[in-house]
């Protein structure tokens, strides 16, 4: 076969696998360095952009305010924030690299077509740390695709990399399924930026069993982790807990895939949450919602049938961001329970017991207030108010997976590390596929895109350098 011919010219200098933020940043950077780049996106054009399409903002180090970011956000604070969410489960050298290289990322992004806006209502608590994309992640991805095309990157949609040929840590070619046909694409260097594996339902089932059947995948159905698995079977070293994923509570009526941001529910701190037996199972008011929303996916996953129901009354309705599906309603708690398909007696009993346990206090959603329950388990530590103001509303909840933590180990040049710790010379990774190096657990709003942008640029630069010398 012609691939065996040493004189054969490769199809391109740098092959980029993936079509989200990390892949695009790598492709643009490599093309600017003079490399001939092919980018493979397994999704059709209308669904291009992976999970990046669903994002809203990213955070970066800045010393001065910008038109869309307040004040300054410096390395030590950034680092402390990261330590707080990961509990120290990170690789310090790589994490500090991301933080430092994120300095004034906004300028580079704008030079490549990105547009920002100051945050308005709803996300003001991020106004200093996170820069918001005008129009969200899809607008960002659109701009990057346009820039990449202008830089000469050859973009192929509906082109899925199904296997990689790696010999002694050296990438040779990718097997690509493109509109039904399979072909080989060879390159002098390869950047894999194909996301996590959260959309591979069979893989999820290997880990969580039958329960996985009831998980909602918040992002792209094309993030199947095929490239991740291939790299791991071809000798790449794994990082990150293969059994962990970032999961939040979403509306059970959400589509199986790609429901994105609108299916999340922020009502939990203002009501009670019961399982399908009508029983409460966790402190709904433990802390501010942005600090707690990410544990509720796992909590719901642990309940019978992987479902739960958030119940609130009329006075709580205006307190949280509206969500996409209307709440189920009832004039009485019993009627609401019936409409939700819950055991009426059990729910009435739970609500009555909860209402009795609520101690008077000064309700204040902006503080960890002193409205708490007494004498029930689990308690509700803040914002506890009796459900006594009809009509009553209920939202069905399910676990919604944002991303998985398993990834490929890298060095500071974005090179894939082999099991023995040696780097592959021409195989690079960026984005979700390697963010487990930095986010060992937990999550920090806007950091996924930061990792993808910084490592995308490093991977693109190093891949081009490998080719061009």
């Amino acid at each position: 076969m012609s691939l065996e011919d040493p004189l054969r010219r490769e199809d391109c200098d740098v092959l980029v696998i993936g079509g989200g933020n990390a892949a695009l940043c790598a492709a643009m950077t490599a093309a600017e360095a003079g490399a001939r780049v092919i980018l493979l996106e397994s999704a059709p054009r209308s669904f291009r952009g992976g999970n990046s399409r669903h994002t809203r903002n990213l955070r970066f180090l800045h010393r001065k305010p910008t038109p869309y970011l307040k004040d300054a956000y410096l390395e030590e604070e950034f680092w402390d924030d990261l330590m707080l969410v990961t509990g120290g489960k990170t690789t310090e050298a790589l994490a500090r690299l991301v933080i430092r290289e994120s300095e004034d990322l906004g300028e580079w992004m704008e030079a490549h077509g990105a547009m920002f806006q100051p945050p308005l209502r709803g996300t003001l608590h991020l106004a200093r740390t996170n820069a918001h994309f005008l129009g969200g992640g899809k607008a960002l991805v659109n701009a990057y695709y346009a820039t990449a095309a202008r830089l000469g990157v050859e973009i192929r949609y509906e082109a899925e990399a199904v296997d990689l040929e790696v010999e002694n840590g050296r990438f040779r070619f990718a097997r690509v399924r493109e509109r039904g046909a399979e072909r080989l694409v060879s390159a002098a260097a390869c950047v894999c930026a194909a996301g996590g594996f959260q959309a591979d339902l069979a893989w999820l089932k290997e880990i969580w069993g039958e329960a996985a059947d009831r998980f909602v995948i918040r992002g792209s159905p094309f993030d199947t982790g095929r490239v991740l698995r291939t790299l791991l079977t071809r000798g790449a070293k794994a990082v990150g807990d293969p059994r962990q994923c970032h999961a939040v509570a979403v509306d059970a009526r959400a589509p199986r895939f790609d429901g994105g941001i609108v299916t999340r529910l922020d009502c939990v701190p203002f009501g009670i949450v019961v399982n399908r037996e009508g029983k409460r199972f966790y402190d709904e008011g433990e802390n501010f919602w942005p600090k707690r929303y990410a544990i509720w996916g796992r909590l719901v996953a642990g309940q019978p049938g992987q479902e739960a129901f958030c119940l609130i009354d009329a006075k709580a309705l205006p307190l949280f961001m509206p969500s996409v599906f209307p709440p189920v309603t009832g004039r009485t708690i019993g009627e609401l329970a019936a409409n939700l398909g819950l055991p009426v007696g059990a729910v009435e009993e739970t609500v009555a017991a909860f209402n009795r346990a609520v101690r008077p206090g000064r309700f204040d959603p902006a503080r960890l207030d002193d409205c708490a329950t007494e004498g029930i388990a689990p308690p509700k530590s803040h914002w506890a108010q009796p459900l006594d103001c009809p009509p009553f509303y209920g939202y069905p909840l399910r676990p919604g997976i944002t991303f998985t933590y398993l990834g490929v180990a890298v060095d500071e040049r974005a090179r894939v590390l082999r099991e023995d710790g040696r780097p592959c010379e021409n195989l690079f990774v960026a984005g979700e596929i390697m963010s487990g190096n930095i986010l060992g657990q937990g999550y920090m709003a806007g950091f996924g895109m930061t990792i993808g942008t910084v490592f995308g640029r490093i991977a693109g630069r190093e891949a081009a350098r490998h080719v061009r010398g």
Binding site: S46, F47, R53, H54, R56, M115, Q117, P118, L120, R121, G122, H132, F133, L134, G135, G136, G137, K138, A139, N142, A146, P255, D258, G260, I261, V262, T263, L317, P318, M321, P322, S323, V324, P326
Partner: protein, 365 residues
């Protein structure tokens, strides 16, 4: 889709957007939406008229078809907007003119042309096709008194219908007259109108005619808008010359009415042609296809007013003057007659919506 279905579709789409809010930086619609949790007909009519159709939120939408949520904000709001204009129109018996607007404009234009040509032919001293010059030359084709009478009646009628339309907008969007006529809100809305703030797409321009962000459409619209104002000023100046100074038209090249009219006419013509070219190139997916006839009719009629006006100016010393005058007057007459029943009303209701927006945003702080 029926008006009811259009309301329901707009409600569905706004509910999704309100849970998402990624587009809040593009325009005034999203911040106004964020002040609400539910969307009754009153609110949707207002939001539909607040939308400038810049299309930023179409290309940016993560839920655009083929996604199962099938969000298409520009189309949903444009289609609803079209039906609200029909609902606002007064007297109600003319509201049907919105439905087959292209045809109505064409018929009105042709009828007016026939009337004015015939009238000119009958009343002009030496027939329609003859060179005339000097003061009052136009009035030797169509007599002064009659011209004044016809156009005053048409203009007053249009004005009354627009005013009545404005009041139905206020009523049907639940807007109090007191908040609407507050000078502070009027001032802020005026600024948004004069700048076309919400075609700036947060500073980058709008996605028109395609995915790229560009300022072309806003600039062309400015040409038409300010050209229109100049032409209006020209007519006012001419009236002043005639009635106050006692100087009847036509006026010399270097006079206020001619300079304003020429500048305005050229600007409008350039702007209209540019907008037509963009429209021919635009992506159709985010467009309200049923409204296309009305939009083209409006551009076409304005172009006819300008084209005949400019030709009249250049050829007024020749024998073609009579015919051109009749055609120009016919175009102007059709324009005034259909002013309250076509795309022109977008200016009225956009302004009204911007005032309401200024009012509620100042309250929200």
């Amino acid at each position: 889709m029926s008006a009811d279905e259009l309301l329901r579709e707009a409600e569905r789409v706004m509910t999704i957007c309100n849970a998402c809010r990624y587009c809040e930086g593009f325009c005034a619609v999203f911040p106004a939406m964020e002040l609400r949790r539910t969307f009754a007909a009153e609110e949707l009519r207002y939001l539909a008229n607040l939308c400038h159709n810049c299309r930023g939120c179409w290309y940016a939408c993560q839920y655009a078809p083929p996604h199962e949520f099938a969000v298409n904000v520009p189309r949903a709001l444009a289609a609803l907007r079209r039906t609200t204009w029909q609902e606002f129109a007064r007297p109600k018996r003319f509201s049907g003119l919105f439905r087959r607007n292209g045809l109505a404009v064409l018929a009105a234009g042709l009828a007016a042309a026939a009337v004015f040509l015939l009238w000119g032919a009958l009343s002009a001293e030496s027939g329609l096709w003859a060179a005339r010059s000097g003061a009052g030359a136009f009035y030797r084709v169509i007599p002064y008194g009659a011209m004044l009478g016809v156009f005053s009646a048409l203009a007053l009628g249009a004005l009354a219908a627009l005013a009545a339309g404005l009041f139905s907008f206020l009523r049907q969007t639940g807007t109090k007259a007191s908040e609407f006529f507050a000078p502070g809100h009027q001032l802020r809305a005026l600024k948004d109108v004069l700048r076309l703030t919400y075609l700036e797409g947060g500073g980058h321009g709008c996605n028109y005619p395609d995915e790229r962000f560009r300022h072309g459409r806003r600039r062309l619209h400015h040409l038409v808008f300010y050209g229109f104002l100049a032409a209006f000023a020209s007519t006012t100046a001419a009236a002043f010359y005639d009635h106050v100074l006692g100087l009847p038209a036509p006026y010399p090249w270097l006079s206020l009415p001619v300079l304003l009219g020429l500048g305005g006419g050229l600007a409008m013509t350039a702007g209209l042609c540019g907008l037509m070219v963009l429209k021919a190139r635009m992506d159709h997916e985010p467009a309200d296809e049923e409204g296309r006839g009305m939009e083209l009719a409006f551009l076409g009629l304005l172009l006819a007013v300008n084209g005949t006006g400019l030709l009249l100016l250049f050829l007024r010393e020749t024998a073609a003057m009579g015919v051109l005058l009749a055609l120009h007057l016919a175009a102007v007459a059709a324009f005034f007659a259909l002013l309250p029943y076509g795309k022109f009303v977008h200016a009225l209701y956009r302004w009204a919506a911007l005032v309401k927006n200024a009012s509620e945003q100042s309250k929200a702080g």
